[in-house]
C-alpha cells in the first residue's frame, strides 16, 4: 500500500516538520495576524459542510415558523404595525434633532459625523451552540465584508467581523474575552472601554475612574474612537458598580443591550469616508474640548432620543 504520508515511527523528521509547521502557523496567525487569506479560503471550503450541519436546526426553525397559527401571526402583525407607527413618530423628532445637530456642528466648525451604509445578514449559527464562540452569518467577501467591520443588532452593538469567507463570515460577539470596544457614558460623556467576559450576559467596563459619574442603569454608547464602530450606538447598560477594588479604577459590570442568545438578523455597517478622517476626529469632539473628563456639551442633544428608542 503506497503511503500518502509516512507514519511517525518511520520518520521522526516528518513529525518534527509538521509540529514546527503547526507552531509556525499558530504564531503567524495568533500573534502576527498574517493568515487572514488562508483562513478565508478554509472557511470558504468549509461552507458546504457548514450548510449541511446547520440544516437540522434551520429546518426546525422554518417548520416552527410555518406551523404557527394564523391568529398568532395576525396578532404579531398588528403589534409590528403599532410599533412602526410609534417609531415613525419618534423618527420625526429625531429628524428635527438631527437637523439642529447639523446646524450646530457647522456653527462650531466641527467634523461632520460619518455617513454609513448598512446591509442585513442572516445568522447561520449562533454563539455557544458549538465550540466556536463566533456567530456565523451568510455574507462574505462577495458582499464586500471586511475583517474588523462593525456588526449591529436592532437594539445595540453585536460585535465585529473576525474572519471572512466568500459567502460567509464569523462575527466575534462583544461578550467574547478577546473583544473590546470604546464607549462613553450616555449621561455624562465619560469614556471607557467595554470588554467581554466570556459569558453572553456580562461585560466588564474598564478605565472609568472611581470618582466617575456613573450609576447602575446608565447606558453606554459607542464613542467612535478607533474608527471601527459608528458613534452613538447603545452597547450595554451598567448593572453593578463596586469600588472595593484597589487602584484608581472602579470594578464595573454591564449587560449587553441586545440579547445575544438568540440572534437571527445582523446589520453590517460601512462607514463612508472612514479613511479620510483621522480616528481621533471620528468622535464628535471639537478642538477646545479635548479634555477627556470634561463633558462635551454637544453630546447632549443625542441623549434624549437615544434613550426612549433603545431602552427596553
Amino acid at each position: 500500500m503506497a503511503p500518502l504520508f509516512r507514519s511517525a515511527h518511520s520518520r521522526p523528521v516528518g513529525l518534527a516538520v509538521l509540529l514546527l509547521a503547526a507552531l509556525g502557523l499558530y504564531l503567524a496567525d495568533a500573534r502576527l495576524h498574517l493568515l487572514e487569506g488562508l483562513r478565508g479560503a478554509l472557511i470558504t471550503l468549509l461552507e458546504p459542510v457548514q450548510r449541511v450541519a446547520d440544516f437540522p436546526s434551520q429546518f426546525w426553525r422554518d417548520t416552527h415558523d410555518a406551523l404557527r397559527s394564523r391568529e398568532a401571526l395576525s396578532i404579531e402583525n398588528q403589534q409590528l404595525k403599532d410599533e412602526i407607527k410609534l417609531l415613525q413618530a419618534q423618527m420625526q423628532t429625531f429628524w428635527s434633532v438631527e437637523q439642529e445637530n447639523k446646524r450646530l456642528r457647522t456653527a462650531l466648525n466641527a467634523v461632520s459625523p460619518l455617513d454609513m451604509d448598512v446591509m442585513l445578514a442572516q445568522v447561520l449559527r449562533s454563539a455557544s451552540t458549538t465550540k466556536n464562540r463566533t456567530i456565523l452569518i451568510n455574507r462574505g467577501t462577495r458582499d464586500g465584508l471586511y475583517v474588523g467591520q462593525a456588526a449591529l443588532l436592532g437594539t445595540g452593538v453585536l460585535g465585529q467581523v473576525q474572519h471572512v469567507g466568500i459567502n460567509s463570515a464569523e462575527v466575534l460577539p462583544l461578550t467574547d474575552e478577546q473583544h473590546a470596544i470604546p464607549v462613553r457614558v450616555a449621561r455624562s460623556g465619560q469614556r471607557g472601554i467595554v470588554r467581554g467576559t466570556g459569558s453572553l450576559d456580562e461585560l466588564s467596563v474598564h478605565h472609568l475612574p472611581k470618582q466617575a459619574n456613573v450609576v447602575v442603569g446608565d447606558v453606554l454608547l459607542t464613542s467612535g474612537l478607533g474608527g471601527r464602530f459608528p458613534e452613538g450606538f447603545p452597547v450595554a447598560s451598567i448593572t453593578h458598580i463596586s469600588s472595593e477594588q484597589s487602584g484608581a479604577f472602579a470594578d464595573i459590570r454591564a449587560r449587553p443591550m441586545s440579547d445575544l442568545h438568540d440572534v437571527r438578523d445582523v446589520v453590517l455597517v460601512w462607514m463612508r469616508e472612514a479613511h479620510e478622517t483621522p480616528p481621533e476626529l471620528s468622535a464628535p469632539s471639537s478642538p477646545n474640548h479635548v479634555e477627556p473628563h470634561e463633558l462635551p456639551p454637544h453630546l447632549e442633544p443625542i441623549k434624549p432620543d437615544m434613550k426612549p428608542a433603545h431602552a427596553q
Partner: protein
Amino acid sequence: MRNEVSLILMMLSSLLLALLLELLPLPHALNAWRAPWLLVTVVFWSLQLPAVAGIGTAWIAGLFLDAASAAPLGTHALIFTLASALSLALRRLLLTLSVFQQAIWMAALSVAQYGILLLLLPSAGTSGLLQTALSAALFWIALHAVLYPWVRPRLRAG
C-alpha cells in the same frame, strides 16, 4: 487494490462526517458533552490504517478544525499531530488492548488536548473536561463498533 481504495474512501468520508458533527449546533446544555469527534476519528484511522492515515492526515484534519472552530490556525493541527504520533508510537501495545482499554487511552488524549489548548489559548478554560473525556471514550467505543467489522476483513485482504 479495490480494498485499498474503498478503505481510503471510507476514511475520508468518516473524517468529513466527524467534521460535520463538529460543526453541528447543539443546545447549550448538550454542548459540554460534545465529543471530540474529529480527534477520535483521526486516532482510529491512525491505528487501523497507519500506512495511509499518518500524522500528515492528522495535521490537515486539525487545520480544518481550526478554521471551523475559529481557533488560531495550527492549534488543532498541533494537537492532532501529537495525538496521532503518540498513538502510532504505541500502536502495537494499543492494538493488543481491548476496545474499552483503548477508550481510556482516547479519554487521556482528550484531556491532553485540553492541556495544550490551555497553553496556546489562555481563554479556553477547562470547563467540560470530564464530560469531554467521557464522551470521547464513549464515541471511541461506538466508532469501533461501527467501523471495525467493516475495516478488518478489508485490511486482511489488502
